[in-house]
Symmetry: C2
Subunit: 203 residues, 2 copies
Amino acid sequence: MPVSPFPDDAQRQASREAKRKAVLLAAVRMFNARGFHATSLDDVAASLGISKPTIYHYLGTKDQVLLECVTFGLHQLLEAAETARRQPGTGLARLRTFLISYARVNMEDFGRCVIRTGEEMLSPESAERFRDLKREIDAALRALIREAVADGSMVPVDERIAAFTFAGALNWPARWFDPDGPESAQATAEHMVDLLIAGCTPR
Amino acid sequence: MPVSPFPDDAQRQASREAKRKAVLLAAVRMFNARGFHATSLDDVAASLGISKPTIYHYLGTKDQVLLECVTFGLHQLLEAAETARRQPGTGLARLRTFLISYARVNMEDFGRCVIRTGEEMLSPESAERFRDLKREIDAALRALIREAVADGSMVPVDERIAAFTFAGALNWPARWFDPDGPESAQATAEHMVDLLIAGCTPR
DNA sequence: GAGATGATTTACTGGAGAGTATATTGCATT
DNA sequence: AATGCAATATACTCTCCAGTAAATCATCTC
């Protein structure tokens, strides 16, 4: 099915979205590789063979670019939480499912960016939106823990401490995981999660 | 015992050291509070009522200031490892002792800075020294895990994964722990560590 | 074909802040 | 007194880069 060289509105829209996404991906990869402050928008533009004002055309200021990156990553995590929530099985099994997805997202481009981005890098307004989204993830994680304890599949724990401990352990791969390392992302994620919940099974 | 207003060499040396340390502490606190890139040396100097060249006099470039900060924090961690190593008791008990100290250091000024500092913030040479020291900590942690498994006080685990998991979980408080929060630093550290090693006791 | 609209560029401005040259003061040694 | 070193300041330079103004080119619409 050949595409007409005269795009209609939908194609136009799709092309715009594709470009937007390409810029975002180039930016997030560079931010992860060299750090946000060590990356100029000129660098990002050059890596795509375009010029800086084009980035402004599609995404806006550097602050907005970063906010888009972390928002995307945080949406991936939120989605993982919702998917796990709908899963059948015990509360602990659902928690495990979520934690594995959580770890995996943090090994990918946008998740890594979420972890490596400190609030002080964003404008006060963007930092607030960033914080709000992170709070949602935290709430989802705590809810899954609470439900696992409630249905007896998990030993009683302090919800706050457990959430921070699990999240911290599974955030860290954003800093050290190497896809060319000894274990695959999936295997590494399962391995870590099983170590974390080993002490949480009753009896 | 009144001190003569004419300092001898030792006093002179001590005063110099005290000033060096004061600058370092002011810097690390500001780096933690506002981020490294959002903190200028002029800011640090102003907070001490001095001027930027004085910082250069005592510590050198901004890169060197940051390297000193993280080196100090990493030495605290290394010391904690050595102390735990000399402790009596089972391998798991020694590991637990170390992990608690590790968590506590990461809640203090210099430890927090270690966690919040990415390699891309340092010059290539400083980043290499940073990496080397972090590798030493990792080696110490793995050794403690290995010994705990060897003497049977800890269930067999993948040393690499366990080290990353524990370290990640206990690094994270650098980002969220609040000394004015519901639990003291010590209690929080113990709480997290006990959750982490709950699954590691045999049987 | 005459504008309106979108995509993209070149070329600039403005500000921040790292690092330095140079001056000043003062004690310390001879 | 003369010289030298330690401590500190003022005032500058130089670079980098975010953000913008204005121009160009290409379509689509009427």
